[in-house]
Structures are given as structure tokens and as C-alpha cells.
């Protein structure tokens, strides 16, 4: 077995040094009745070549990975510069662990410090942590932070119903252990944004306001109105940005006066990976830094006065505070945070802006191409790179028929809103050409009539 280096002769020497006769003598502490008589029934061991053949066969059953895809809805395929994956394969990064020993981990620590810097700047917030599991858990942790630290001990959490359904579901799960009730702000059927009248739900008992922009339908909320309503009652304003490339052009959470801003870093150079791993983003204001969950890296000096970096403010964390910790999270999505850092470093401010502008243009391309079909825009609100389409038939059926033509058309809104069974959410990114948009429109016309 290539991962097990000890030879039989060495095993013998080691057993002699320990003073036992066989390896099994080392397991006498395990009760006999639970020692396995036979190893677990796994498949027969495969060689490397057999594994490659097996995985190629299995991969062949993932036809969707190679199809022309317009899938978005919380996970987006973007251009990823080649250097990212090449550099991620530096095993000095990927085979290291949490930087407990700063002298032996300056590479990881500096990379995290730079990640914190670039994410804080991207969100226009004071400070970012070293990352969370994903956007959904980051959002739930943000609400828990607000609940724990609200001076008025308020418990009403007002959430936009246009927030990604997985985020709402995850939040509800996390709230099982807390006192806090979710109140949903319904969306306007015309605009696809939170309805103006629903902002009245943000009242004096409201601890936090959580919303996503662009929202799950791809529509950009009336972010200034939501911010104003939250500020009026001094509730914690918590915007979530999942399609983070939009921040190349879109108003940043910090510009709205966010108290905590969260998001998903997957769009920043990370493959879609069937939904994970991505990287959760968590930012806040300086005065809240000691209340925030997650790892933090800070700058300091070594004994010779040289600039260096360490894990810091760990007094918040569970290995010291145990049950009184700000969270149970004890790691970050290190390698994915590194990928997002490399992406932001490579794109730079100009590149990211161009990506965002290209996304706006591609969507426009698709909107124009669709003019010749029977599909209508479902909502009037402004968008970034997604389109909610109102179809003359059930979206599920359209998706099936377009898939048979080699096109993954999008996400059916009915997956989470059964009543919206004729709405399809389609995403275009810079990854598509205008010709791809044309193929989408032609295929759709074939299915629903042009």
C-alpha cells in the first residue's frame, strides 16, 4: 500500500521497542465484543489506473458539466485565471493546517491578512474575518451575533423573502437554539423586490434586517430604502451578496451603512463544484470586531521588530471561551479564501469592474435575443446578470426540453415558490458569448414557440 511506508522488518523493530508481540496487542484496550472479525465491507482496493478509469466513467454520467449552462441561483460560473489553480496546487499551502505556529505558517497567515484586506475593501467594510463555511452559515452567524449583542435585547428578525431559500432555511435551523423569530418581507409581484409596504415590518422590536442583493430572482433590491428603514429603528443592517462579482460595479454594503455584511466568495475564481466548497464571507465594523465569529489574522512584530502576522483576538474563540465563545467555528475555508484572494489580486480593481460591466452587457444581449420569443421578463426591477423569465408554460417542462437540446436553461422558481411555476431564473456571465445568448433564445423559441 503506497501510503503506508513501514516495511515488515521495521514493524518488527518497532513492536520490539514497544515491548509487544503483534500490532493487535496494541488494541487490547478495545473490548473484544466490538473488535471487528473482518474488515468493513468496502469494495476491493483499486490501483491508480483503475481509479482514473472508474472516475472517468462516473464523470461521464455528469452530462450537465459539459452542457451550455445558464444556471445561477446562488452559484455562478465565471472566468477563473489559470494561475489560481496552478498556485493552489502549491502543497505548501494545501497540505498545511491552521497557522497555530506563526514561525512555520507565515505564508498562510499573510495570505489570510491579504484576504481580509481585499474582502473588507470589496465590501467597503472595516474588517473581514478569515472566512466562514459558506454564505448561508455566514448569514446565520451574522444574525446570531446581532441577537447576542443587541443592547435592547430585541428578537424580531426581518428577512427579505427574496433571500436565497437555502439561506432562509439555514437561518431557521440555527434559530432553533436561540430566542428569535423570523418575519418575512414579501416581494412585489411587479418589481421582484421587497414591496415598499413590507418595509413597515421593520419596527422598534426588530433586532436585524437581512436581505440579499441582487436577490434570488436576480433583482437588485431598493437597497437604500431598506437601509433607511433599518437605520430608523437602529436595527442591525445585514446585507448579503452572493454574486460577489457584482461588487465590481454595484454599491457596496459598507456604502449602505451595513453593520454586518456577509456573502459567498465562490464567484471569485472558484469552480461551482456542485455547490461546495465555496467560501463564506463575513465583514463588520471596527466597533463590533470583538463580537464577531471566526478566525482573525492580525499584524504584529517579532522579537527583532520585523513585521509579521498571527492569529489574534482568539479570546473570542471556543478553545479558550468554550461554551461562551462567539461561535463554534474553529477553522476557515482556508484554501478557498486563498483562491478568492488570488482572483481579486489578478483581476485588480480594473479587471473586476470589467467583469461586472461585461455581466451587465451579457444580460442585455440575452434580453434582446429573447425579444423574439414568447418569454417575458417576469419583473421590472434592475438586475445584474440574471433574468427571471415568465414563460407561457411550466418552467420545469421548458428546462427538461431545453436540456434535451443540450442547454441548461436555469433554475425553476417553483423549486421554492410552488406558485411561480412559470418562472425561470436564468444567469449569464462573462463566461458566455453573445452567440451563447443567441443559442439560448433559439432553443427556447423552439420549445415555447417564437
Amino acid at each position: 500500500m503506497r501510503y503506508l511506508p513501514n516495511t515488515p522488518a521495521e514493524v518488527k523493530e518497532m513492536l520490539a521497542a514497544i515491548g509487544v508481540n503483534s500490532i493487535r496487542d496494541l488494541f487490547t484496550c478495545v473490548p473484544k465484543n466490538v473488535l471487528l472479525k473482518e474488515p468493513p465491507a468496502l469494495p476491493a482496493a483499486m490501483s491508480e489506473m483503475e481509479i482514473e478509469r472508474h472516475m472517468a466513467e462516473l464523470g461521464g454520467k455528469n452530462e450537465g458539466a459539459a452542457m451550455l449552462s445558464f444556471l445561477g441561483g446562488g452559484c455562478y460560473r465565471h472566468y477563473a485565471p489559470s494561475l489560481i489553480d496552478q498556485m493552489l496546487l502549491r502543497s505548501e499551502f494545501y497540505t498545511a493546517y491552521t497557522p497555530y505556529q506563526p514561525e512555520a505558517s507565515q505564508g498562510t497567515l499573510r495570505a489570510i491578512f491579504e484576504f481580509q484586506t481585499m474582502i473588507a475593501n470589496l465590501f467597503s467594510m472595516d474588517v473581514s474575518n478569515a472566512s466562514m463555511y459558506d454564505g448561508a452559515t455566514a448569514a446565520a452567524e451574522a444574525v446570531m451575533m446581532a441577537l447576542r449583542n443587541d443592547r435592547k435585547k430585541r428578537t424580531r428578525i426581518v428577512v427579505a423573502s427574496t433571500l436565497h431559500p437555502h439561506y432562509i432555511q439555514t437561518l431557521r435551523t440555527y434559530l432553533e437554539g436561540f430566542t428569535g423569530e423570523v418575519v418575512l418581507m414579501e416581494f412585489d409581484q411587479q418589481t421582484g423586490r421587497v414591496a415598499d409596504r413590507e418595509l413597515a415590518k421593520i419596527d422598534k422590536d426588530t433586532v436585524a434586517v437581512l436581505f440579499q442583493y441582487p436577490n434570488w430572482f436576480g433583482v437588485i433590491e431598493d437597497i437604500h430604502a431598506i437601509a433607511k428603514a433599518a437605520k430608523a429603528v437602529e436595527a442591525w443592517l445585514i446585507p448579503a451578496v452572493i454574486e460577489t462579482t457584482a461588487l465590481g460595479i454595484l454599491t457596496a454594503p459598507g456604502e449602505l451603512g451595513a453593520d454586518i455584511a456577509v456573502g459567498e466568495g465562490q464567484p471569485l475564481g472558484i469552480p461551482v463544484n456542485y455547490g461546495g466548497p465555496g467560501v463564506g464571507l463575513f465583514t463588520t465594523r471596527t466597533d463590533h470586531v470583538r463580537k464577531m465569529p471566526g478566525r482573525l489574522v492580525g499584524k504584529t512584530a517579532d522579537r527583532e521588530g520585523k513585521e509579521c502576522f498571527v492569529l489574534t483576538l482568539s479570546a473570542r474563540e471556543q478553545h479558550i471561551k468554550r461554551e461562551k465563545a462567539t461561535s463554534n467555528i474553529c477553522s476557515n475555508q482556508g484554501l478557498m479564501a486563498l483562491a478568492a484572494s488570488m482572483y481579486l489580486a489578478t483581476m485588480g480593481k480594473e479587471g473586476l469592474r470589467k467583469v461586472a460591466l461585461t455581466n451587465l452587457k451579457r444580460r442585455d444581449c440575452l434580453v434582446k435575443a429573447l425579444a423574439k420569443t414568447k418569454a417575458k421578463l417576469a419583473f421590472t426591477g434592475p438586475c445584474y446578470n440574471e433574468i427571471a423569465l415568465k414563460l407561457p408554460m411550466k418552467a420545469d417542462a421548458v428546462i427538461d426540453k431545453m436540456a434535451a437540446e443540450g442547454v441548461l436553461a436555469g433554475v425553476p422558481a417553483s423549486r421554492y415558490y410552488p406558485a411561480l411555476d412559470d418562472i425561470l431564473i436564468t444567469a449569464t456571465t462573462e463566461f458566455h458569448s453573445c452567440a451563447d445568448a443567441g443559442r439560448f433564445a433559439t432553443t427556447l423559441a423552439k420549445v415555447i414557440g417564437g
Binding site: 471556543q318 482556508g334 469592474r353
Partner: protein, 491 residues
């Protein structure tokens, strides 16, 4: 090669923080030439941001920056990395290659199921294999990390008691040797953590436990072998006592490597356990993540698993939603890219080699313990499996565990976990794993012997360590007192 260096020298390039390499007008991106004039007008003016502060770099700047940073790290691929409780085993290269196959990496989570059967089959088969090696009825791959698995497993326990109307059960008993995440996971689940003091042998005192069990106890959370590497020999009696009192048993799977293929937690009466794919199943630690913390449950808890679950209907793999689920714990379906690496690892081990993992891991740990126990004190010497916990009580001249750690860095080894578990003062927790050879461990043993000798003969040389690294003993107090958490953050 001798202990004095492990071949470790100090060839390092100075490297600035990324922003200092930035020059106005540099670019490292490659996008299609396209006229973007007017594109911003597609977005209303009041939705556009003001400025964006990101560095401007060329491609070689970025590549050289990260290459240089990588040289400031110790990693498994460099050297022995015996971080106790973290199971820093070798990360096979085939795992990385397979995870990057376009057919898997480019599959979108909203792909219609009929076009994603390859990944769904992989997930289903991995669930089954993990269930088989652990003795559980079903496994969920949703949780993103070990602590997230703890959170999820405790949620399953909460749901179980809720469904039975047994709402008085708010306490979870946790031994004092447990990972800090255990009580923290209880707190965010709304449970109260109650500490159980370890017995004189480092194990759970069965009678003490029985004295604490009552109708307010929801569960006990234990790690077996525990964080001392000591196997809980009374495990079957412990689980029985808990079940008799109406409590469930949560197993922290951090130390599963000690028994993988040899014994199964499910057979010991454990009801719920999380796995750490990044420990036991060879997926990379990635400098802190991404991990993966699947949860396995016994039959009576399957209905409470997080949503969704992957099931097989006829010859088709599908997602199912459970009515009594503890809920959704994250977006989509877990860290699928990490699960795939663990799947590949299990394919390579197969039935033939699975038991050799625990056997060789336990052999290696006991070898290190035997070789060093006369020099470094072992507070709890009996019934240890995959790790050895030493302390600094035998070292002279006020040389502490922290100094030993820094001395090891100078000798080219990543230090063990230090000052944990908390019940051993000055703990040095060594977990070699099965993927290290005898000569690697001999080098490490010699290095620790050398440090102990120098502690007596030339203590200053140890107190000054490390001397070969890029930076030396950073001021952590300064970092916490005046936190600078981003570039330019001093202002």
C-alpha cells in the same frame, strides 16, 4: 541526515504585502477585447459604487508573490507534521487530480438530477462506505467541517427528544478533556454544557457519569479514543448507562483514525458521530479548510438528519427531504469537492487495506511514546492508541512546551499540538499518523531528545529558538491589544 537540521536550511526571499507590489496601470487579467462604453448605464446610477481599492499587478507579480509566501509555510509535503488531534496524514495526489476533473468541478448544484447522476452516485456510495466503516445506519454529507458536524449531530439529538415530547432535556455532559468546539456547539444549539471531570487514568469515570445522568440530560458528548489518545475501555457500559437514563451518546469522530477498520463506533452504542474527512480520510487541511464533517446516525435517528439526503430510487439517485429533519445546515449539498477526495481515498484503500490505517497509526504513536516516555513525562500512559500526550514537567531550567515547539521548528519539524488537552499542564500532543516511516519518526525522536539535552546543558539555545525561520516569536499581545486586521488598518 541527522536531527540537527532534518535538511532544513533558511533560503527565503523577502516579500512585501501584496498591496505594496501594486503599480497603477498594471493588469494580470485576460478578458475579451470589448467595448464596454455605456455598459454601466445598464445599472441605475444610485446603485453604482464609488471606488474600489484592489491592487494592480501583473501576472508574474501575483505568481511570484504567492510562490514566495508558500515558502514561509511548513506543510506535510515538506516534513513531519504531528499535530495531535488533527490527523495530518499524507494527502494523496490522485485525490487532487480527480477532484479537478471537469466533469465534477464544473457541475452546477442546480443541474437537473438526470444530468448529474455521476456525482449523485459518488455521494450515495460515499455515504454508504462511511456508514459501513463506522457502523451507522445512514450518513449525511452536508456539514462543512468537524465543528459544523457537531452542530448538526446535536441538532439531530435535539429533534429526537423534541419528537418524543421529552423537552426537559437541556443538558449535555462533556468530559473536561474534550475539544473546545464541543461546549461551543452545545451553546449554539441551546443546550447547557455540563463538565465531567476525567478520572485518574484520564478516562471517563463510569460511576461519576451515572451520578450525573437524570431526566434533564439530553446527551453525553465523548471522543473515543479521547484527546489523550486513551481508549475509553468502559465505552459499552457508558453508552448503556446513558441509554438507560434516556440520554443519547454523541461521538466526536476526530480520533476515528485510531480504530478505522478495526472497530466501529456504531457497534459501541454511539448514536451520532461526525467524521472529519480532512483528518481520517486524507483530504487536505488547506491551511485551515475547507474541511468536511459528515454525520452518521444510528437507525432510530435517521429521520432527523439534515435536509436534503441523497437516496436511491430504483436505479436513479435523487435528493429527498425528511419531514422530521433537524433542518438545512448550509447552502446546497455539502463540500462535494472534498467528499470526492475522500471517496477516491476509500477506493484506493479498499477492504484489503482499511484496517492497516488504524494498525499503522497506533503502531507509530506507541513507538514514539515508548522511545520518549523516559525523557518527556506521559501523565496518562495506559491504553493509548493513535497519539501520545507528553508534557514539559521533566524539563529543567524553566524550558516549557512552547520552547520545545520552537526548538522543533529549528530542527525542521512542525511542532505537535501544544497546551491541549487542558487537563495536561504543558501538553505536547503527538499524532504521527500511519503515513510516516520509522526513520522519519526516529529523526523526530532524536530532535526531541536533543532539545531535552540542550534544555539541561544550554537552555538559552532552546529559549532563543527558533533562529532559522523568517520571523521569530511574534508579539501576540501587541497583535491583540491594537488589532491591525487589514493593510492600512493602522489609521
Amino acid at each position: 541526515m541527522s536531527y540537527t537540521s532534518n535538511g532544513f536550511t533558511d533560503i527565503k526571499f523577502h516579500e512585501e504585502v501584496l498591496f505594496e507590489r501594486s503599480r497603477p496601470g498594471r493588469a494580470a487579467y485576460s478578458l475579451p477585447a470589448e467595448d464596454l462604453t455605456g455598459a454601466e448605464d445598464l445599472l441605475p446610477a444610485d446603485l453604482r459604487r464609488k471606488g474600489l481599492d484592489l491592487p494592480e499587478l501583473s501576472e508574474i507579480d501575483v505568481v511570484r508573490h504567492y510562490t514566495r509566501l508558500s515558502t514561509y509555510n511548513f506543510s506535510i509535503d515538506h516534513t513531519f507534521y504531528p499535530l495531535g488531534s488533527c490527523t495530518m496524514k499524507y494527502n494523496p495526489k490522485i485525490n487532487e487530480k480527480m477532484a479537478r476533473l471537469a466533469a465534477f468541478a464544473n457541475l452546477h448544484p442546480e443541474t437537473p438530477l438526470g444530468y448529474a447522476q455521476g456525482t449523485l452516485k459518488m455521494l450515495f456510495d460515499l455515504q454508504h462506505m462511511l456508514a459501513e466503516v463506522s457502523g451507522f445506519a445512514e450518513v449525511s454529507l452536508n456539514p462543512a467541517a468537524g465543528a459544523h458536524g457537531e452542530y448538526t449531530g446535536l441538532g439531530v439529538i435535539r429533534k429526537y427528544h423534541q419528537k418524543r415530547g421529552d423537552t426537559k432535556r437541556k443538558k449535555v455532559i462533556i468530559p473536561d478533556s474534550a475539544h473546545g468546539t464541543n461546549p461551543a456547539s452545545c451553546a449554539i444549539n441551546g443546550f447547557e454544557a455540563v463538565v465531567l471531570e476525567s478520572g485518574p487514568d484520564g478516562k471517563i469515570c463510569l460511576d461519576c457519569l451515572k451520578g450525573m445522568l437524570n431526566d434533564e440530560v439530553a446527551a453525553i458528548m465523548l471522543t473515543n479514543p479521547n484527546t489523550l489518545g486513551v481508549f475509553e475501555t468502559d465505552i459499552c457500559a457508558i453508552t448503556k448507562a446513558c441509554h438507560d437514563a434516556g440520554a443519547l451518546v454523541y461521538g466526536d469522530g476526530a480520533n476515528l483514525n485510531a480504530i478505522l477498520g478495526v472497530a466501529r463506533p456504531g457497534d459501541m452504542g454511539i448514536d451520532v458521530m461526525h467524521f472529519n474527512l480532512h483528518k481520517t480520510f486524507s483530504t487536505p487541511h488547506g491551511g485551515g479548510g475547507p474541511g468536511s464533517g459528515p454525520v452518521g446516525v444510528a437507525k432510530h435517528l435517521v429521520e432527523f438528519l439534515p435536509n436534503p439526503v441523497v437516496r436511491k430510487e430504483g436505479d436513479r439517485y435523487v435528493f429527498a427531504l425528511l419531514k422530521d429533519s433537524m433542518g438545512r445546515v448550509r447552502s446546497f449539498y455539502g463540500n462535494v469537492g472534498i467528499a470526492l477526495r475522500a471517496y477516491v481515498y476509500l477506493l484506493e484503500l479498499g477492504k484489503e487495506h482499511i484496517a492497516e490505517v488504524a494498525e499503522q497509526a497506533v503502531l507509530n504513536a506507541n513507538y514514539i511514546k515508548a522511545k520518549l516516555k523516559d525523557i518527556y513525562n506521559v501523565k496518562y500512559p495506559n491504553d493509548t492508541l493513535h497519539e501520545a500526550v507528553f508534557d514539559d514537567s521533566k524539563l529543567p531550567n524553566h524550558v516549557t512546551t512552547m520552547d520545545v515547539a520552537k526548538g522543533l521548528i529549528d530542527r525542521g519539524y512542525h511542532p505537535p499540538t501544544v497546551y491541549f488537552p487542558l487537563i495536561v499542564h504543558g501538553a505536547l500532543m503527538v499524532e504521527p499518523t500511519e503515513t510516516e516511516s520509522k526513520e522519519t519518526m526516529d529523526g523526530f525522536i532524536d530532535a526531541l531528545k536533543d532539545i531535552a539535552e540542550k534544555a539541561a546543558s544550554d537552555p538559552q539555545s532552546i529559549l532563543n529558538a527558533p533562529t532559522k525561520t523568517y520571523i521569530k516569536r511574534p508579539d501576540e499581545t501587541l497583535a491583540a491589544r491594537k488589532p491591525v486586521l487589514k493593510y492600512g488598518g493602522e489609521k
